[in-house]
Amino acid sequence: MEKRDDRFTKENLKLLVEGKLDWEEVKKAIRLAPKDGDRFWKYLEVLQERVPWKDKILLRISDHLYIVAKEGGGRVVKCDCGQEFGDYRVNWKLSCRVYVRKTREEMAEVVSVEEALPNPDLVEMREFYCPGCFALLGVEVVPAGYPVIFEMLPDLDTFYREWLGKPLADERPDWFQDKTLDMPARWAKEG
């Protein structure tokens, strides 16, 4: 087993993830140079202990969302509540529940200063919820008809092989491809 870099401990990382680490300790972490080299592995341990399921976490991509390796093969996006969103190369927002705030009244429920309300002639406010736990996973303020924004497509194989030196078992050249448009294409085909 590799030696732990305890200049920033797993316990402190857990508190940081929970938003409970003392600010003075956070500042020490900010000043740490170089950073603790095993941070990612400690992070995975902390995260894995927080979720109620066993799928192996490959990467955390949002507060609630993880890319996990499925036992039978595949890499999918999964909410900590257990809801799965399918292949991580497809924008997870297309597997969400969607609510759109279109009027000033609807936007005023979440923008609390009336002068600052978005202009409803120009933009709408989209909210993306987890279909399992109904956590708010994403917010977009965009003109109607704007393509859903794919916030992050990680290059997992480069990351694990070249940056971490521990390649994933199921490496494949097409893991780093945006497949989002396959989904509306399928919807259109199905009618």
Partner: protein, 726 residues
């Protein structure tokens, strides 16, 4: 025989530098860092001496200025560059400008300055022309060659943001301009002095072509004096270390720190593709009229960014799909993009012992020809290029925050959205004295967005100027006596909500007093009625818009005579008007920049910015944090209840059971109101097919669908027929 090392011409040296990097992957082809590795302590001493010289130049020279932005708000910078233009050391201040100077040196090299007008000991050069490397004409550069024997061994540079550029509108950051001919005083690279002294004729340009001659002449002297002082100090360092060490040392600084930056990305980020998006607006319709027919319209600007963290640790920013160039004030060139956007890079990964041009070697951009950041019209207006580019500063903050979050370095996350406001003004006092000024108070004290583990702070940072200061109000009022500051505060509830909420926006309120014959105000802001960014972070809401309110012909003078209170921000102005305490003939409200506004005695001018975004789902906010929000005045009880689902008792304590029940009800409402993405997609697709948009949105899509990448995305998302067009 050229003036650079080994007899190369400046042009040869500049292009050789670029070729060496292209061929080897190392700055100046330096595979080995002999000086750094041979005697690290000596090298550090060398480097720190250079930095100290830059800071010394700044602190001495700024006392020559009378411009409050330079003198008290930190809008200046002094730096040292290699002959090829790479900055190796700089003072505190407008750090981003180290990205622009390489473009200026390349310009004068390509323009043949070495032959005509010549580059000699004691010469002084200057420019503020965006086509040749300046980010916008408010930022003026003055530089001096360092010549040792017959060899050019470097440049010393002074620069600052001047008060007024002599454009259509008062101030240095105009919000209306149709071409370079209405941008104001813009001068290409020019030899403005000799024998370490500016020519006398040069002063006349400031006197005749700008509104604030005194400020601008003194600023020019400040820049020149600082550059010369730095030159002299550097010559002493050259003598101490030897010219060979100096020449090699400057290059090794750049290459060493290039390695630090790529290594930092590889140690903290996750490679991949991240997407960033922001919308902006330009409103000229009915403002510029027949005089500028091609500008007499409004624009909704599309600003997408594909941010690629590459396997080798370099970064590539693809801006394909960016709105096209047009006859408006906010076009920009590559130097402006690199300059301003570096301000997002510094706090996220590009911080090193000394700021320098190594970032140039780590980042690449695609700025499509014909887009507003690569205008093909050589006379494109750029007076406010930084308003256009400013939104992209935070692409680094946004995308790298997700990258660091994924890697587990939560403490390095620093997501931000567009911010910043200020104004220019010009007037004629009762005695006929003409004057002008400008203010950047709200570009010194931004609140910050929420972090993945903590609320955003308030008035604690400024991306545009890493060493900012609001300065003394009294000094600002001495220089601009028409604008009396009666309020400067944080505004409750003015933030993007989230599990961790954004820092509250900061507001100012001014009373216009005794303007005399006339007073014109031109306000610039960073938003356009669509929030600070198009996406929130991890379920948090994006930051909300800047606010400008003008209440004309108020009864505030009478209220003050009676010794009462007065409103301190735009919310209080509105509330007081609703309550009838304050009376006004008319009220103007903007969510960003304004055209010229005529002001009279008794008018109220309120401005606000930096209401930053939240992180995470507001329904997951810890009750203990909510309990602090209300007594501290950050949030009101009704917002705590309706947005955060927390019910407070009479003592401000959260009623836990009731709040948990309310939160469950709110989640149930989410379930009832929402639909499956597929159902939403079908309805949205029908709207797209019907082309149901207002004019501005329609025009935006019509423009950006010309760009292949966005068209593929748009057509694919909505599965549109091939002949779909706008």
């Amino acid at each position: 025989m050229g003036i650079c090392y080994q007899g190369k011409t400046l042009k040869e040296a500049v292009h050789e530098k670029e070729q060496l990097f292209k061929d080897s992957g190392y700055a100046y082809g330096l595979e080995k860092l002999d000086l750094v590795e041979g005697d690290p302590a000596k090298f550090m001493r060398f480097q720190m001496r250079l930095v100290a010289a830059c800071i010394n130049a700044r602190e001495i020279a700024k006392l020559i200025s009378a411009n409050p932005m330079s003198l008290i708000q930190g809008e200046l910078l002094f730096l040292l560059a290699t002959p090829e233009g790479d900055v190796t050391s700089a003072s505190y201040g407008l750090a981003g400008h180290i990205q622009s100077f390489p473009f200026m040196v390349r310009s004068i090299a390509d323009l043949g300055f070495e032959e005509d007008p010549g580059i000699n000991v004691g010469d002084i050069f200057a420019t503020n022309d965006t086509l040749y490397g300046a980010p916008h004409n408010a930022d003026n550069y003055t530089w001096v060659p360092i010549i040792y024997g017959d060899e050019l061994i470097g440049w010393t540079v002074g620069l600052n943001h001047i008060v007024d550029v002599g454009g259509l509108q008062p101030g240095g950051l105009g919000t209306i301009s149709a071409s370079v001919f209405t941008d104001g005083f813009t001068y290409p690279p020019t030899k403005t002095g000799a024998n370490f002294k500016q020519h006398k004729w040069w002063e006349l340009h400031w006197k005749r072509r700008t509104r604030t001659e005194a400020f601008n002449v003194l600023d020019d002297k400040m820049r020149a004096a600082g550059a010369v002082a730095l030159h002299d100090r550097v010559m002493e360092i050259v003598e101490e270390f030897g010219v060979d060490y100096f020449r090699q040392g400057l290059r090794e600084i750049v290459e060493r720190e290039r390695r630090v930056l790529t290594q930092r990305i590889k140690a903290q980020a996750v490679p991949g593709i991240y997407h960033y998006l922001v919308f902006d607006s330009v409103k000229y319709k009915g403002v510029v009229g027949k005089l500028f027919a091609s500008s007499n319209r409004d624009w909704l600007l599309h600003k997408p960014g594909e941010f690629q963290v590459l396997p080798d640790g370099r970064l590539f920013m693809d801006l394909e799909g960016l709105s096209s160039e047009a006859d408006f004030h906010c076009n920009a060139y590559e130097s402006a993009v690199r300059m301003l956007c570096s301000l997002g890079a510094w706090p996220m990964f590009a911080y090193t012992a000394t700021i320098n041009s190594s970032l140039m070697y780590v980042t690449d951009w695609n700025l499509p020809p014909g887009s507003m950041f690569n205008p093909q019209n050589p006379f494109a207006a750029t007076v406010m290029s930084l308003a256009g580019v400013g939104k992209y500063v935070h692409m680094f903050n946004h995308c790298l925050s997700y990258a660091y979050f994924a890697r587990g370095f939560l403490e390095e996350c620093f997501p931000q959205g567009a911010a910043g406001g200020g104004y220019g003004l010009a007037g004629v006092f009762a005695d006929g004295f003409r004057w002008a000024g400008g203010d950047m108070t709200l570009i010194t004290c931004w609140s910050s967005a929420a972090l993945p583990y903590r609320d955003g702070d308030v008035a604690d940072n400024c991306s545009a100027n890493p060493a900012p200061d609001q300065g003394e109000t009294e000094r600002a009022e001495f220089l601009q006596p028409t604008n009396l500051n009666i309020g400067r505060k944080l505004v409750p509830n003015y933030c993007g909500h989230g599990k961790f909420r954004g820092g509250l926006g900061i507001a100012t309120c001014q009373l216009i007093v005794d303007p005399g014959r006339s007073l014109t105000l031109a306000v610039f802001g960073s938003t356009g009625g669509m929030g600070r960014s198009a996406t929130g972070m991890a379920g948090g809401y994006p930051g909300v818009d800047d606010i400008v309110v003008l209440a004309h012909d108020t009864n505030i003078r009478e209220m003050l005579k009676e010794g009462g209170h007065y409103p301190r921000d735009f919310v209080e102005i509105r509330e007081w008007l609703e309550e009838g305490k304050l009376k006004a003939r008319s009220v103007e409200l903007y969510q960003g920049s304004t055209a010229n506004i005529q002001c009279k005695d008794g008018d109220l001018f309120a401005n606000a910015t930096a209401a930053r975004g939240g992180w995470g789902d507001p329904l997951e906010r810890e009750f203990s944090l909510v309990e602090n929000d209300v007594p501290d005045g950050w949030l009101s009880p009704d917002v705590v209840r309706t947005v955060y689902g927390a019910v407070l008792d009479d003592n401000g304590k959260v009623k836990v059971a009731e709040s948990n029940e309310l939160r469950q009800q709110m989640r149930n409402r989410r379930k009832e109101k929402s639909v499956d993405a597929r159902d939403w997609w079908e309805k949205e697709r029908e709207r797209v097919l019907r082309k149901e948009w207002c004019e501005d949105v329609y025009n935006m899509y019509a423009d950006v669908l010309k760009y292949d990448k966005f068209r593929r995305q748009f057509m694919g998302m909505w599965q549109l027929p091939e002949d779909y067009g706008l």
